[in-house]
Symmetry: C2
Subunit: 164 residues, 2 copies
Amino acid sequence: MEQAFVKNQTATFITAANLLEHWQGHRGLTRRVIEVFPEKDFFEYSIAGMRPFASMVQELLAIAAPGLRQIVGGDTEQLNEHLDHQNSKAHLLALWDQATAEINQLWAQIPEEKFEETILAFGQYEGTVWSTIFYFIDNEIHHRAQGFVYLRSLGIEPPYFWQR
Amino acid sequence: MEQAFVKNQTATFITAANLLEHWQGHRGLTRRVIEVFPEKDFFEYSIAGMRPFASMVQELLAIAAPGLRQIVGGDTEQLNEHLDHQNSKAHLLALWDQATAEINQLWAQIPEEKFEETILAFGQYEGTVWSTIFYFIDNEIHHRAQGFVYLRSLGIEPPYFWQR
């Protein structure tokens, strides 16, 4: 038993390609959530003073590609959540697609040994590269789920959670 | 570039121990979300006809330890979301803690090669063991975030998302 547990400690089973696919699968779902929002509600609707979903999406865009750029390039990126959304869902969707392509390009430039290195994301959050990327994904799931509640309370059926 | 990408495809960087810690970190946060709910609201409060947070927690309990039992033992578990919660937050927290210990015990019995095997979780959801566990975690983040919105709309500050 002890032996088996020690073996477990070093088991590895997810590849960089798996993790990219997992993330992009989540990003595809988030994109569908953006799409299903009525234009006005996307920028204005709120529950209990929380941010509109558009602001959460701005945060996700500020994290994903800029965060990866730092991982690949090493230069500290600023966390800029105030990109100009032009009050247009189509504009944010275009930025989303641009980030999707950029993430794929950047990912191919991460050497495998990099995933275990420690970084200070956005100059303030310390962690390994892989745990930092997990945090990006978890944060996206978290805010998207808040968007699900917004949609439900607007009487709109969200996309299926399990659909990627 | 092509060569570097191919190398990436096989990079492994997260161990079974890492994944357990990641999951239990999330479970600790979910526990704090349960704790901060007023007893009555935990079982009754809802937005837009969605389930009360207690029902979501029942689902999470129905998935975590039973799902792992199947992974370890191979027998298909039934998805039973209707465990008796006795209308008591303390009772659900006790079940939560019991599941925490059981997850740790079961985890130590997963041989490392198992993570890449394909299973049919609860007799209906096909995937690798690792992707199935990812799904358990993602589903927990998703529902917990809905609990965050419930708390906010009750005027209650949720725990910090980044706190594990």
